[in-house]
Symmetry: C2
Subunit: 263 residues, 2 copies
């Protein structure tokens, strides 16, 4: 029954459309064709990603080069959401992010920082850089730490990689603060993605490879959620103590097959 009355899909990207990597990554078999079939069916589609290693423009360029028919407007990502939050609250960030993400913050005042924004900085997570972020936070009367997602790790073509959540925990512990997460699994982030999708939660399905961030987060917003057995999926996810997807599918192509049969 999970496939009935669907009008739109939110898709995680890394591990669902492709496996990322230094080489630009490789598409997951059948996923580019699945995206085309979704669009041809009239279903609405929005990519809902915690990707913070590139601007949305460059991210979409990469996905198009891999054969995915997607546009910038179809991407909901943490950096633009963080920029809105910074503006609303008059926050001036110190950025500890990937070099390629910095242009997303071009319009934001970064002088005399009164908060730290943490992204998936990868090689920029040096001891010196993390220590600089730590010193700024510990020097604030009320430290504000904003984390672009809180993923534990992700899978690249050459293996698993530590994600931003690990470094968020390091700074939370060192500074005795609680980070504010902008990105999955935050409810406000899924709500933004649904607004951009233009479909209410009850008529949308989230498809992802992360049992907590994708599946658990979407279900808490009243959506159905599927876990694919691609990307960082591990068989032990199926025994997760808190989260149970509405269904498992082998990959995006299989999910789309089933959903289209029920239209």
């Amino acid at each position: 029954g999970w496939a009935r009355a669907v009008r739109g899909l939110l898709l995680d990207v890394s591990g669902v459309l492709y496996d990322s990597g230094a080489d630009g990554g490789v598409p997951i078999a059948g996923s580019a064709e699945a995206v085309r079939r979704i669009k041809a069916s009239g279903l609405k589609l929005q990519l809902c990603t915690n990707e913070t290693q590139a601007t949305r423009e460059n991210f979409v360029r990469k996905l198009r080069a891999l054969g995915f028919d997607v546009s910038v407007a179809e991407v909901t990502a943490p950096a633009p959401a963080a920029c809105r939050l910074l503006r609303e609250r008059g926050l001036r960030p110190h950025l500890l992010v990937h070099d390629d993400l910095i242009p997303e913050f071009a319009e934001v005042d970064k002088t005399n920082p009164n908060c730290v924004v943490l992204g998936d900085a990868a090689e920029n997570f040096t001891y010196a850089n993390l220590n600089e972020a730590f010193r700024l936070l510990i020097g604030m009367e009320k430290p504000v730490l904003i984390s672009l997602g809180k993923g534990r790790y992700y899978k690249e073509t050459d293996g698993l990689k530590l994600d931003v959540g690990a470094y968020m925990k390091a700074l939370e512990y060192a500074c005795d603060v609680q980070a504010e997460v902008v990105g999955k699994p935050a409810k406000t982030f899924f709500e933004s993605a649904l607004a951009e999708l233009g479909v209410p939660a009850e008529q949308a399905i989230m498809i992802g490879d992360d049992i907590v961030s994708d599946v658990g987060g979407a279900q808490q917003c009243g959506m159905r959620a599927l876990q694919v057995r691609t990307g960082k999926y591990r068989p032990s996810d199926e025994n997760h103590p808190q989260v149970k997807p509405d269904a498992y599918v082998n990959n995006l192509a299989e999910a789309v097959d089933i959903i289209l049969q029920h239209l």
Copy 2:
């Protein structure tokens, strides 16, 4: 009343005897003289440190150069305690530690690692090195993570520095494991230090600058504990929700003044 019936002192080192730093550090005023007065008084003395940036031999060499009359036998430090634990349990470590600590593990079998040992690796905490430790752990059926202390940060001559505890939290979160801490505030570590001091807990006082690791840890072993207002001490420590020292002192010299008056 806190200064009565004392037969031995456990002293934290960084922030109590000296402030560490790339330049070798600088002694805290009056501390070298205080160590001499402790020894002249007949009180027993043991340094109880979470220092893991050097072998005990080099650590003592540095302290002697700064004017402290101390010997290797008077130092209780995490690395030798970790070596005992590794031997007892047949564990073969992958080391993510400071280069200068590696000789402490010379006798330990490090082939085909079945655990990760984490120390205050400082500049060695690169993304690549942390990711390597993460991959080893996540690949183990039952990951074993041993952390040499769990300090949040410490003070060097050029400012505050992130300590091993922050990186321990990062790996705990990424791998969904709980680290085993060897060092303060672990009870077994204080018990080793007391055994080396040769004085029962009720007759010993711990003196440190860390409200949780030094003061809280020692009190849980039945010792009295003082917090000095040197090193990483911050006024907000005096409002700590869980831990209250038996007394505050401005520095080690003041503590020793008071204790010697009560002998």
